[in-house]
């Protein structure tokens, strides 16, 4: 098995799906010759040509809308939003159209588009190149929102997204692109959309999180193990619709739950996770649910001091787990 970075896993999944199915094509800004500003599509233009690796005009509503049209026709478009922050002009196409096409047509039409977007901070991106945007979309039946936490998951989940018969919003943490590396099988595999994944077993405290924060949580858990604190970590993988069973099981297991997100606290998707727990297994809890999140400010500032203050990190998580363990 080769060791791949998170971004290489994105690239490999795209390459393999395009080789496997000629209905798969990529469209977005600078995805062609440039290979994407993060090189997610590097080499694809050379291998598959301009028509299947298409530089679009600078217009996100068209990137989504044209992709949705092609998907209804029967293609498998993979649309790239250059930064998740710039998906906003496409919200009408994604929510009013992609998410509702199957339901509104009573199953006559469907729209199997995958929309990739790099989200998250810690890259000196400031207010508009650092945002977590999942909460805006994680309330729209008909849409699926996937947020992988590792190169292995990226490959298996992106392939699943492209093959999914419904629209999938695929959010990649841009700081993870080069930070995270691991062995990724050469062969073809898919991971189930809609299912969470237990990435660590423990019986003292349960951490439920997703995306880059899974990596931070693992680091924290390893340190705490030396103190004899054993942490269960559930990676949501799909943040909409949520895997309720897995959440209830993981919360009940330890009775002490820490929910972690890089997003602002109020209105983030971990609020829904807390609600599911409080509805279904509140009496199994030995401590109040604890949420660890970004501050409720528009997004993270550029100044390194302020960015650091906003960002999630292993230390914050470690402290929160310890507090819960000692509760």
């Amino acid at each position: 098995m080769a060791v791949l970075t998170y971004i290489q896993a994105v690239n490999q999944a795209l390459k393999e799906e395009m080789e496997k199915d000629e209905k798969v094509f990529v469209l977005g800004e600078d995805v062609g010759k440039r290979g994407g500003v993060f090189l997610a599509t590097a080499g694809l233009y050379e291998q598959f040509g301009e028509e299947r690796v298409m530089d679009t005009p600078l217009a996100e509503s068209a990137i989504a809308g044209v992709g949705i049209g092609a998907a209804m026709y029967g293609m498998r478009p993979v649309a790239e939003m250059q930064f998740a922050d710039f998906i906003m002009p496409a919200v009408n196409q994604i929510i009013s159209e992609a998410a509702r096409i199957r339901y509104r047509s009573n199953n006559d039409w469907n729209s199997p588009i995958t929309i990739r977007a790099p989200y998250g901070g810690g890259v000196h991106g400031a207010l508009y190149h650092s945002q977590s945007i999942e909460a805006i979309f994680a309330n729209q039946p008909g849409l699926k929102v996937v947020m992988p936490s590792s190169p292995y998951d990226v490959k298996g989940l992106l392939k699943a997204a492209i093959r999914d018969d419904d629209p999938v919003l695929f959010l990649e943490h841009k700081k993870a692109y080069r930070l995270l590396k691991e062995e990724v099988p050469e062969e073809d595999y898919v991971l189930p959309i809609g299912k969470a994944n237990t990435v660590r077993d423990g019986d003292d405290v349960t951490v439920i999180t997703y995306g880059l924060c899974v990596h931070f949580a693992k680091q924290a858990a390893e340190k705490l193990e030396q103190e004899g604190i054993n942490t269960e970590i559930l990676d949501l993988r799909t943040v909409y619709p949520l895997d309720k069973e897995a959440i209830i099981k993981a919360a009940s297991k330890t009775g002490k739950v820490l929910l972690v997100t890089e997003d602002n606290k109020e209105g983030s998707i971990i609020g829904e996770v807390a609600a599911i727990i409080s509805e279904n297994c509140m009496f199994d809890l030995d401590a109040p649910i604890r949420r660890l999140a970004g501050p409720d400010v528009p997004a993270m500032p550029y100044a390194p001091t302020l960015e650091k203050e906003f960002m999630m990190n292993p230390e914050k998580i470690e402290q929160a787990i310890r507090d819960l363990a000692e509760f």
């Binding site: 005009p57 026709y73 293609m75």
Partner: protein
């Protein structure tokens, strides 16, 4: 009627079939207003005043290869593409058997894959980028398919119009966009929607051909769309067509147009009604006679009566189906 060299003007059969579809659209629409006013259906949004451009345009398309992305007034387009009278009343009554949405959407939200009619929503103009997407896919698949999309003139101010047409222009895609300029967007007259003299003037900004036609002249509309279709299938790219007529009814059954326009204005516009003009033209040509016309009216009336009865008595979707088809399941496409 602009005098024409093209043989359509001499093609009796086609002209009469066009007339039949226009008349059917008009009569279906009129019936729906009756049903609404009598309290049988809660809502109707009309094609009246636009049947001529709709049917004439649809005739210039290829029912086997093209896709249409209609907007809510396009009864004429979808009738030609295969939506039956019964299906039209099933959607008006929101019954389970409605192929458009199984009663899930409001009337006027058309869609029927079997007839190559693409599902539509309420937010205006979202269908324009979709049409570009169909055209892009068809081009990739090397199919002789053209995407035909319509919208109102007010809707041509949405960002999606700009983004969708620009994309089609840059990639020279086989899309025909027809703006049905009925001179009002609910209460707002076209001169408060746009400052340009012609919606068709926007074409140059997308590097495509722009054409303005009299929407009450079926032959002019047919030829404009036919020409655009030829260029589309020959890889010469997209066309923007503006067809002008007048909205003869209030915006919808919820609207009171007397709050913003006068009865006189509407009456004088009614005199230019394209359907009436076309009928006169067919009489003058000797293609249509009182006898044929009465027979036509009678057949249509019966068809509508049967469809109304059928739809009225058809069942609603089971309450238990409310959560069906949010996501696909094995066995769906």
């Amino acid at each position: 009627m602009a005098n024409q060299t093209y043989s359509l003007a001499e093609d009796k059969e086609t002209l009469l079939e066009m007339y039949r579809e226009m008349l059917l659209a008009r009569r279906v629409d009129e019936r729906m207003w009756l049903l609404n006013r009598s309290g049988s259906i809660p809502f109707v949004v009309s094609c009246q005043g636009q049947e001529v451009m709709q049917v004439a345009a649809a005739f210039a398309l290829n029912k086997e290869e093209d896709y249409v992305l209609p907007y809510y007034r396009d009864l004429g387009v979808i009738i030609h593409f295969g939506m039956t009278t019964r299906e039209l009343f099933l959607q008006a009554y929101a019954k389970a058997e409605d192929p458009n949405s199984g009663g899930r959407q409001m009337p006027g939200h058309f869609g029927k894959k079997k007839s190559r009619i693409v599902t539509g929503s309420s937010p205006v103009t979202t269908q324009v980028p979709h049409a570009t997407g169909f055209a892009l896919a068809a081009k990739m698949e090397k199919k002789p398919t053209v995407a035909f999309v319509t919208l109102g003139e007010g809707s041509s101010n949405q960002g999606d119009f700009h983004e969708g047409l620009n994309f089609a222009g840059v990639h020279k895609l086989p899309v025909i966009t027809m703006v049905e300029n009925n001179q009002y967007a609910i209460s707002v007259p076209v001169n408060k929607q746009v400052a340009c003299d012609n919606i068709a003037d926007r074409a140059i900004g997308y590097g495509m051909k722009g054409v303005k036609v009299d929407g009450n002249d079926p032959i002019a509309v047919y030829e404009a769309v036919k020409d655009a279709h030829n260029r589309a299938v020959n890889g010469e790219g997209p066309t923007l067509i503006e067809a002008v007529s007048y909205r003869l009814t209030p915006h919808s059954s919820d609207d009171d147009d007397m709050t913003y326009r006068t009865k006189d204005e509407v009456t004088s516009e009614k005199e230019k009604d394209g359907l009436e003009q076309f009928k006169k033209f067919l009489f003058e040509k000797g293609y249509l006679t009182e006898e044929i016309n009465n027979e036509l009216e009678a057949t249509i009336k019966q068809e509508i009566n049967e469809a109304t009865d059928y739809a009225e008595n058809a069942p609603y979707a089971e309450v238990s189906t409310i959560a069906d088809h949010v996501y696909g399941e094995k066995g769906d496409q």
